[in-house]
Symmetry: C2
Subunit: 429 residues, 2 copies
């Protein structure tokens, strides 16, 4: 890398703006550490007139980011638009083809097009860095790619979505409803004001799990659906009951190789209150890596927000300035093989079920009959009556049951008219 | 780095032997990830005839490691002897001067000679890597140097000695004495069988703190003494009483810059049971980094043992094979300045004191008089009588008091004849 390095920042939302400020503020520190002089030569955003905390330098502003590649001499480009396709993909693709290093926090882009883009980067001998795409302030990708480089990693799991973790923690603390706490999260900037769906339904965490799997097991990114469930249907009632049973509800992302088959999943879990993961609360993220010979490694930190994200973007930036040309996924693309997917029907687990029922004789018998039919054995059953509405909540914790039987049973339960709502299912971890 | 890379391993104790095995076992994996073919061309140990799990290849064995540099063509050398001076220093020095990359887990060597050796490495354009020197399985140095590269780090602390943490945890669980638990730790291989002193007196953790300070604050390694206390004087009585007060005793290493002055310390601390650090038990290590903008990052993992250490050595190894020439301390030596030391007399803290006294009238008054003289105000006082021996334990938790007054008071207390042993002092965290 030459001494004078030209930078472009594409996308000036919350993250892009924060980053731009950091780049300006830390110019000297960067020169001290790397010996490089950096210059921001191009910025781009959808709307130049949007209210921002800083003044946009119009001389380096581009309405169309693709123009940057033609007109400015850029060495390193930050993509901070954030969609999985469209302009995000176009600008990253064009940059790599023009031998420009790319740094991005865009998990959706990497989870979807990471294999293709990393091939482009390798071919053009430039870096494609995405530390900020998973668990912002926690340098987990670098830890897996470098810190634990020769370990045989068997399992990675954790709390990968700060929004969901905040909502679940806050519901427990305030005893408030899901929708009220969601509103609070939005007002605090923890959840997207417009459309928080991708956080709440598990999609965001799933994209991160895909990236983690690929790095941990040295495989191509899986395209197959596995298990993805969000927290949208969790009620304060679930939090309250599980709390009394000494559990907390956490949205976990989990990836492991079972007999060389990839099992990726994101879903709410009941975790014991006295475990490490049961005590990671609020917007915190945590990732746990099981490897050999290293044993269990735990990393915890702020998972989102412009500060944490910017910290990760800057670490990628310094790595490039220091001249480390690296394979985006830690090894040459030709050595990254496809992976078969684990058949989720074989997944066996204890379940928490909550059924809202009419408080009538025979209802419990209807339910237990269906459980027996699917060979689901009950470890614990709690019935909480609601005399006013003549209804009851029936909470069941089962012994281990395989997913196929569980789903068949759920289907049968749904057809019982005395069950008033779709059953809630949460898996025990 | 050329395609065929020659390796030497000096020191074949627990760590060197494990590493040698890993290097052989993972040759293919390493080639897959880095494209390099590695060959072990030299090994050295004090005693060729010592009983080992593997057979020594006599063709590549050197009795005198310095001969390796003359006779074998080595690209990367692992130093696994482990002393701060002597042959450890000689072989590292000679290797760097001969443009051989060096990897070492030797915290004593780096804490003492790190500045000089890193200058040598920089001058000769080779790497000096020491990830394994601090918290084995936790890639904390890489995280600070790279993952959090542009953060302003304000404080780093943690549990850095697995032996001490194991002993303290085990005393709590088994209610056994310090010396019995130490014997158990030795038989399990957690503590040195011969001389565990460097673990128990805080020296080991202090060397790690010196390395962490230097990396976190981008300064030269401090040579000044600060505060170093071990766990040798802690009795089960202390663990029992503090437990009832909802505390645990942990040996913490702490480093921070206070008004641009370096305050490094290692000493036992009372930590609240419901905190994160209060729940890191057994041989685990944990490091907590406070940085801006990233916030608080926590890393936890196995801190010692040949598996964890080898994982860190191998990560350094792959980093070199990938061709990353790096400054050992993350920035050019010329930019690493000396740092002034914080005056410990100004350090103010709440204290736990345990005094073993004769159970006689007036003793308590003698003690409280001394406390009052030094303006030490008592938050809590517990007296536990031992009728059989006509003695009592007096436990005092003070409000904040500065170190100077605390030490003066301790000195006065020691001269009271009714106090039968040197008082035990543990600081609150």
């Amino acid at each position: 890398m030459k001494k004078n390095v030209n930078i472009a920042v594409v996308g000036l939302g919350q993250i892009g703006s924060y980053l731009l400020n950091e780049l300006n503020y830390k110019k000297k520190d960067i020169e001290l550490k790397t010996g490089k002089k950096i210059k921001i030569v191009a910025i781009s955003a959808k709307n130049i007139n949007k209210k921002r905390k800083f003044k946009i330098n119009k001389n380096i502003f581009y309405k169309n980011p693709l123009e940057i590649i033609k007109k400015a001499k850029v060495d390193i480009l930050f993509e901070a638009i954030g969609s999985s396709d469209g302009m995000s993909k176009k600008i990253v693709e064009l940059s790599l083809k023009n031998k420009i290093h790319v740094i991005t926090p865009n998990k959706a882009l990497i989870a979807k097009h990471g294999d293709y883009l990393s091939m482009l980067a390798e071919k053009n001998k430039v870096n494609l860095e995405f530390e900020a795409s998973v668990a912002g302030g926690i340098p987990i990708l670098r830890t897996i790619k470098e810190g634990l480089a020769t370990n045989k990693i068997t399992k990675v799991y954790g709390i990968l979505n700060g929004t969901c973790n905040y909502i679940l923690s806050e519901m427990e603390t305030t005893k408030d409803t899901f929708s009220n706490v969601l509103k609070k999260a939005q007002s605090l900037g923890y959840a997207e004001p417009g459309n928080p769906k991708l956080d709440l339904n598990g999609y965001d965490a799933f994209a991160k799990i895909r990236i983690l799997s690929s790095l941990s097991f040295n495989k191509k990114i899986s395209k197959k659906k596995c298990l993805m469930e969000g927290i949208e249907n969790i009620d304060y009632k679930d939090i309250d009951v599980t709390n009394q049973l000494n559990f907390r509800i956490k949205l976990l992302g989990i990836t492991e190789l079972i007999n060389n088959k990839l099992f990726e999943r994101v879903h709410p879990c009941l975790v014991k209150k006295d475990t490490y993961i049961g005590n990671v609360n609020g917007v915190m993220n945590a990732v746990i890596v099981n490897g050999n010979p290293v044993g269990e490694s735990i990393l915890q930190g702020e998972g989102a927000g412009p500060g944490a994200t910017s910290s990760a973007l800057m670490s990628d930036f310094l790595s490039i300035l220091r001249g480390n040309i690296k394979y985006p996924f830690g090894l040459p693309n030709i050595n990254r093989k496809s992976v078969n997917t684990y058949n989720i029907n074989n997944y066996s687990n204890s379940l928490y079920l909550r059924l809202e029922v009419r408080d009538r004789p025979g209802v419990l018998s209807q339910i237990t009959k269906q459980l027996a039919k699917r060979k689901i054995s009950v470890e614990r059953l709690i019935q909480i009556p609601d005399h006013k509405n003549k209804t009851a909540s029936i909470i069941i914790i089962t012994h281990k049951v395989n997913e196929l039987n569980a789903q068949k049973c759920l289907k049968s339960l749904k057809s019982i008219k005395n069950i008033l709502k779709d059953p809630i299912l949460i898996r025990l971890f």
